[in-house]
């Protein structure tokens, strides 16, 4: 198992390195610089700013300087927010976004698995069609639409829940989490339905019934474990996707999270910030993919013993 994890991490190093390099040169090739503004600043002021952030050096020197900083864990100063380092900004936004992502995923799991399992128990009946149709809408409903819609209904007409903020008013975490989690709930529902249908047709489910187990045990104990493995494998990429995709939700609900920084950095051409968030997010993607692969393998005893045997 350890060998598997180490080899996966080793494979990730060139991936992240190439991502850093490509991003470094891509952002600099994009038109517009970090200090361009609508009201043009004086040329000497601009030069001084560029010197301060080492932008006056030849590109390759900037690149190697960045790499050596990065090797020491330094992501550099933000161009947009003077006096703040990228590390600082990332670590102030991360807990908020991570918490938002966690709740969103939790909601996605609870709603998605329930809907998917219910649908799989009576395929091609109303109990299947209704949740699956909702899931389809959920997948395609963009959060820039769902968010305002929820705000309108629960925040403004019903006045049940606060419509913005994070952690300042009780209940203000509910709407953003639902908005972010909805699409994932829909995917989870489809995945768990397909997974459960597959498992429910297995011979060992018949064995369980032949033992006289009550139906809830047949489903809950024998079918769920295997049926949800595709969902577990999906969670890693999903969590990484949530972190990167939380921008819209964080904007709608005024949440000071990482997603806003990620997208704003690109708009502001805040070079160090773009690189910092990209490095950070791609590392997280690698990490979460690995965790969910390991978890999915761990749930499957056959794979588990193969992995602990040192094999791959």
């Amino acid at each position: 198992m350890l060998r598997f994890i180490i080899s996966r991490l080793l494979q990730a190093i060139p991936v992240i390195f190439i991502v850093i390099t490509a991003t470094f040169f891509l952002v600099r090739a994009a038109p517009g610089g970090p200090f361009d503004a609508e009201k043009v600043v004086l040329p000497e002021v601009k030069r001084a700013l560029e010197a301060q952030y080492k932008l006056d050096l030849p590109l390759h020197e900037q690149y190697f300087a960045y790499l050596s900083d990065l090797a020491q864990g330094e992501l550099g100063p933000s161009f947009k927010y003077p006096g703040r380092s990228v590390n600082e900004i990332l670590f102030s936004g991360l807990p908020v976004t991570a918490e938002l992502g966690f709740y969103a995923l939790l909601i996605a799991l609870i709603i998605g698995v329930t809907a998917g399992v219910l649908a799989s128990l009576k395929p091609n009946t109303r109990q299947d069609y209704i949740p699956m149709s909702l899931a389809m809408i959920g997948i395609c409903m963009p959060s820039f639409l769902l968010g305002p819609l929820l705000v309108l209904v629960f925040g403004i007409y019903l006045e049940w829940l606060p419509i913005s903020g994070w952690g300042s008013i009780p209940g203000d975490k509910i709407l953003p989490s639902i908005t972010l989690g909805a699409a994932y709930a829909a995917y989870v529902a489809r995945l768990s339905r397909a997974g459960m249908l597959e498992i429910l047709s297995q011979d060992y489910i018949r064995t369980a019934r032949a033992k006289g187990l009550p139906e809830w045990q047949v489903v809950g104990k024998h079918a769920l474990r295997g049926g949800l493995i595709p969902v577990i494998a999906f969670l890693g990429p999903a969590f990484a996707g949530l972190l990167a995709g939380s921008f819209v939700v964080e904007t709608i609900f005024q949440i000071p999270g990482l997603g806003r920084f990620y997208v704003q950095a690109a708009f502001n051409r805040d070079y160090t910030m773009i690189l910092g968030t990209t490095v950070f997010l791609s590392s997280l993607i690698v990490l979460f993919n690995l965790i969910s692969d390991v978890a999915a393998a761990w749930l499957n005893p056959r794979l588990r013993s193969q992995l602990s045997g040192g094999g791959q």
Partner: protein, 274 residues
């Protein structure tokens, strides 16, 4: 900021919390005077005269702005800019014909760029259609991401570009000196030694306020005849002020002076009865 489309909703409420007042800023279109067809002053004048600013303000802007016919906002510290032209589609068509495009024939096309934002899009769409229906000229729109847009403007890689200027201090000079030759925010390629002389040499040496404002009027008249820019509207400051707030008065710079503001919490919006 108050969202544009929400304004009518607030306005219609009795005891409205909505408060609007003119603001030291102008929304205008930059014209690249070195690119055909807008290198022809008659074309620029025709385009400007074909914009029905009253209608634009009434419909798209929901009365949240004031039509502008000059770069300087009205009553800038007592300076009232001249109105050189007005909405005149007939004259616009005549000018366009003089420029060689009678009824839009032979028109080579024109592109308006703007940075991606709903408000800019709405203005551009409306103006595009006004030019199309009054002058029979084809206009294309191109929205650009903010930094790309800034880059296009500073590289003068455009024909017509949306622009706004918010005054740094309350004085006409702050608007008029934008268009001196090679000014950092000129971006139009406009260059007129007489204008430069007026703004840079003569106005600073004016002996009185009246003389200074007369020089400004002369310069601005010149600017509005040559039209390196097409003014669209003057900004207003827009606030939702809860009825419980007393003593908040608008000013041109829209800066809050909280010294005289009082709160009367018993006052509520008529919408919030419960």
């Amino acid at each position: 900021m108050v969202p544009l489309d929400k304004i009518p909703v607030y306005r219609e409420r009795p005891n409205t919390p909505y408060l609007q007042s003119p603001y030291l800023g102008t929304y205008y279109y930059l014209v690249n005077t070195e690119r055909p067809p807008v290198n022809n002053v008659k074309v620029r004048q025709a385009l400007s005269m074909a914009v029905d600013r009253e209608k634009l303000v009434r419909s798209v802007l929901q009365e949240t702005a004031v039509p502008a016919y000059s770069i300087t906002p009205p009553d800038t510290l007592g300076y009232f800019p001249p109105q050189v032209f007005s909405y005149d589609p007939d004259k616009a068509r005549a000018l366009l014909a003089e420029a060689g495009y009678p009824n839009g024939e032979g028109w080579p096309g024109l592109e308006i760029i703007y940075n991606t934002q709903e408000a800019h899009r709405k203005i551009a769409v409306a103006i595009q259609q006004m030019w199309k229906s009054e002058l029979n000229v084809d206009i294309t729109l191109a929205n650009q991401e903010w930094k790309v847009y800034l880059n296009s403007v500073s590289q003068r890689d455009f024909q017509v570009a949306r622009r706004g200027w918010i005054g740094d201090y309350v004085d006409a000079n702050n608007f008029l000196d934008l268009f001196i030759t090679d000014g950092g925010n000129n971006n139009t390629g406009y260059s007129n030694p007489i204008y430069d002389d007026l703004i840079l040499q003569r106005a600073p040496r004016a002996q009185s306020r009246e003389e200074r404002y007369a020089l400004f009027t002369e310069a601005e008249t010149m600017l509005m005849e040559e039209m390196p820019i097409i003014p669209i509207y003057t900004y207003t400051s827009k606030h939702l002020i809860h009825p419980s707030v007393e003593g908040m008065y608008p000013n041109l710079m829209d800066s809050l002076n909280l010294k005289y503001v009082k709160l009367h919490p018993e006052q509520t919006l008529s919408g919030e009865v419960n």
